[in-house]
């Protein structure tokens, strides 16, 4: 027969302080896990959602980063002969030749560096289909105009529609604001490619972003590029490229696991202490229960259950705290994009993971004291003062 659960619950209530402190200890560890993981995952998600699933990023074969890649005019000629790209109204393949620049701002200006992608105006929205203009319009060619990503516009009031940003020698006019499904592009500017190249003496294009007709077409072009001796190019799906770049996100995830697991050990020790004290204080009760006929497994289950309730409540506290700090934002750097603002918003999966983590702590912490309780010799236990 099982020990009535109300017995354990009541005991938790009677030893309020001990129960409370242990719950907070476990709760904080769960909170740390949730908070850091939500930032890490938020950043990872931002990076993986950058770009479109049907876009192929074409760079030179050896270039790990877009920055070290160069697209020659000859490369473009060859690409135009390939099949599989979506076409524009005039039947030309949707290939966006792009250039990239990190523009140093004058001393004292925040942020100190902004990244600008140079694109041809007619390719901006047709290839980067996730972009939406929320204010203003697209830049005109050769007019020193830019559009700004929503995250930058939100974070820096002066980078709004109508404001300016320093690129090279001049202040360029911000004529529009765009959002891009929360991806990394919202931390950068877009400008006219020829305009950038002229003003900055940039004589190279870094990459080509191509809009593919289908996943098979994408695979086909990737394979064709690999074997094509005329050019030294390779294609990577745009989202995969950015996901791969998410170095900071990965480091954060490592941090989350490291800190949480090590701290969990500390919290488990705390739980063990609490449960041992609980058992020690109730040895007469345990002896009585055994004398009444409750078997050893029942005692074990009862105390393990008690610890699991502790852990469950701790997990709830952790989740609530994690939700309470969901508004906290951190500006984290990623390659070629700059600083991205990530909010510590936990997903349901993460909250679930936090609860599971708490219950795991409870199971491990509660095991030995519960086992010990179940092994108490009845007479000795009854005799204890």
């Amino acid at each position: 027969m099982k020990v009535p659960f109300s017995y354990n619950l009541r005991n938790l209530w009677v030893r309020k302080t001990s129960t409370g402190l242990t719950i907070v200890g476990i709760g904080f560890v769960v909170w740390i896990f949730i908070m850091v993981m939500s930032v890490a995952q938020g950043l990872q998600k931002k990076m993986s959602q950058t770009g479109e699933t049907d876009n192929l990023l074409i760079t030179t074969k050896e270039a790990q980063y877009e920055f070290s890649s160069v697209i020659e005019p000859a490369d473009l000629h060859v690409l135009r002969t390939y099949e599989g790209f979506q076409k524009d109204d005039q039947g030309r393949p949707l290939l966006s030749l792009e250039t990239l620049f990190g523009a140093q701002q004058p001393p004292g200006v925040e942020p100190p560096i902004v990244f600008v992608r140079g694109v041809d105006a007619d390719r901006l929205m047709s290839v980067h289909t996730g972009m939406r203009l929320t204010k203003g319009r697209v830049f005109r060619p050769l007019s020193r105009e830019v559009v700004v990503g929503a995250m930058l516009a939100e974070k820096y009031p002066r980078l709004h529609e109508g404001g300016t940003v320093r690129i090279g020698k001049y202040d360029w006019k911000i004529v529009g604001v765009f959002d891009a499904k929360g991806g990394a592009f919202e931390s950068i500017f877009y400008a006219d490619r020829q305009d950038l190249k002229t003003h900055l003496r940039l004589n190279r294009d870094f990459s080509v972003t191509a809009k593919m007709q289908s996943p098979q077409a994408m695979r086909g072009v990737m394979a064709a590029l690999e074997g094509d001796k005329r050019v030294s190019l390779r294609g990577r799906p745009e989202q995969a490229y950015y996901e791969e770049q998410a170095q900071t996100a990965r480091q954060m995830e490592i941090l989350a696991y490291l800190v949480s697991i090590i701290m969990a050990v500390g919290a488990v020790f705390g739980a063990i202490n609490t449960m041992y004290a609980a058992v020690a204080g109730r040895s007469r009760e345990i002896g009585t229960l055994r004398a009444l006929g409750f078997q050893q497994p029942a005692i074990l289950q009862a105390f393990l259950g008690e610890c699991l309730v502790l852990a469950f409540l701790g997990g709830m506290v952790g989740c609530l705290l994690g939700l309470a700090t969901a508004g906290a934002h951190f500006d984290l750097p990623e390659q070629g994009v700059g600083l991205m603002r990530v909010r510590a918003i936990p997903t349901w999966r993460l909250l679930g993971g936090g609860m599971a983590f708490a219950l795991l702590m409870g199971a491990i912490g509660g095991w030995f004291p519960a086992w010990h309780a179940s092994k108490l010799e009845i007479v000795a236990a009854l005799r204890k003062a």
């Binding site: 740390i32 490592i254 800190v259 500390g266 705390g270």
Partner: protein
């Protein structure tokens, strides 16, 4: 410390509880030291003033670092500016071993004779014969100590790098020596002329490092150099070494906030866990405390005794945890941990850890100690169980 024996005896009353609590505190401080190391080391690395040498750097005005390069011809003109003692052109490079993208190796391509004069402090521990080799042997690599250890290289070994930046290519070199200065230890140096040979093309420079005669000349030199190239094809931005690095640090702000926030939660969590342990130990000894009060011990003394006991336990655990962090980080290569494996725990962090242990002992012990000191003698002696 006439009560020391009493304190130790009390701590050892329940060895399991004391040990588990000390381990919990130890674990928390271990985590704290790890995280603090990351933040503090980066800050000291980048923000400390090199007070002995007045260094400045010159880079292209409009691009973020390394975006646009300067012509070699600038060197002579910069050299002629009053108060400039030495000028060295340098180029940044990055590569990997084989195809391992996660193992990024970064360094600077330098001119040894000039570099030794401009950075005597950073290259202090490089012996004379190594310097001579670096100056005379083209394919010489000077590898920082941490990097050497992390890669498992030995001095005298030939190393093959797959260059990724500035251009893809293969370079091989001989590790001729190592240096342990914080700014060098995770980095490597190669000869600039060798790099230029490998990547081909015209000689362009990422940064010119300058040694000026005194910090008082900073302003003058900056104005003179930038003024000289103003409105030319390659305009410059001249900064002091500390200005440049504090900009670099600006990127890490969000990361630091997160790490510091988590550190606080870690310390708070463990205070609760430790507080629970102290509370439990006091609860077990109420009769004893009442007797002590009955025979004449003052409330204040009781309070101090309990607090001291708590502090003793916390310091033993926390001090141990801090030292464990120090030892572990020194011994393990931690290649997989990315940025977290880069640093060794500075003694200041260990000291901070010990100090915080004292604080944890004080805070966690305070409330139980207060309650102990307020125990009513008669009622306590009367109470059952």
């Amino acid at each position: 410390m006439k009560y020391l024996r009493l304190l130790l005896k009390n701590l050892w009353r329940n060895p399991r509880r004391t040990v588990l609590t000390m381990l919990s505190v130890g674990v928390a401080l271990f985590v704290y030291c790890g995280m603090d190391t990351l933040v503090t080391s980066m800050k000291t690395l980048f923000l400390s003033e090199s007070s002995t040498k007045a260094r400045m750097l010159v880079r292209e005005k409009y691009g973020s670092a390394g975006m646009v390069q300067l012509p070699e011809a600038h060197e002579e003109k910069i050299r002629r500016v009053p108060h400039v003692v030495e000028v060295e052109p340098t180029n940044f490079f990055a590569g990997m071993i084989g195809n391992d993208k996660t193992n990024l190796i970064q360094g600077n391509a330098v001119v040894p004779e000039l570099g030794f004069r401009i950075f005597p402090d950073q290259l202090e521990d490089v012996p004379e014969h190594v310097r001579a080799t670096f100056t005379s042997q083209r394919d010489a690599f000077l590898v920082g100590k941490n990097l050497l250890k992390k890669q498992g290289w030995k001095v005298g070994q030939t190393v093959h790098l797959r260059l990724m930046w500035p251009k893809p290519g293969e370079i091989s070199g001989v590790v001729i020596g190592t240096g342990a200065h914080p700014k060098l230890t995770n980095w490597m140096l190669m000869r600039r002329d060798y790099l230029l040979d490998v990547i081909g093309g015209q000689g362009k420079v990422d940064m010119f490092w300058m040694l000026v005669d005194s910090p008082g000349s900073f302003g003058q030199v900056a104005r003179a150099v930038d003024g000289m190239f103003e409105n030319s094809d390659y305009e410059t931005r001249t900064e002091t070494e500390s200005q440049f690095f504090s900009n670099v640090m600006g990127w890490m702000g969000g990361l630091f906030s997160l790490v510091q926030g988590v550190s606080l939660i870690v310390l708070a969590a463990i205070t609760f866990v430790a507080g629970n342990a102290v509370a439990m130990s006091v609860r077990e000894r109420t009769t004893e405390i009442a007797v002590m009060k009955a025979i004449g011990f003052q409330s204040r003394t009781i309070l101090t005794l309990v607090v001291c006991e708590s502090v003793l336990g916390a310091v033993a655990g926390g001090g141990g945890g801090s030292m464990a962090a120090y030892v572990l980080f020194k011994v393990l290569p931690m290649k997989e941990l990315g940025m977290f494996g880069m640093f060794t725990v500075p003694w200041q962090t260990v000291a901070k850890g010990c100090a915080l242990s004292v604080v944890i002992g004080l805070t966690s012990g305070l409330i139980p100690a207060w309650r102990a000191s307020r125990l009513h003698i008669v009622n306590t002696l009367r109470a059952v169980g």
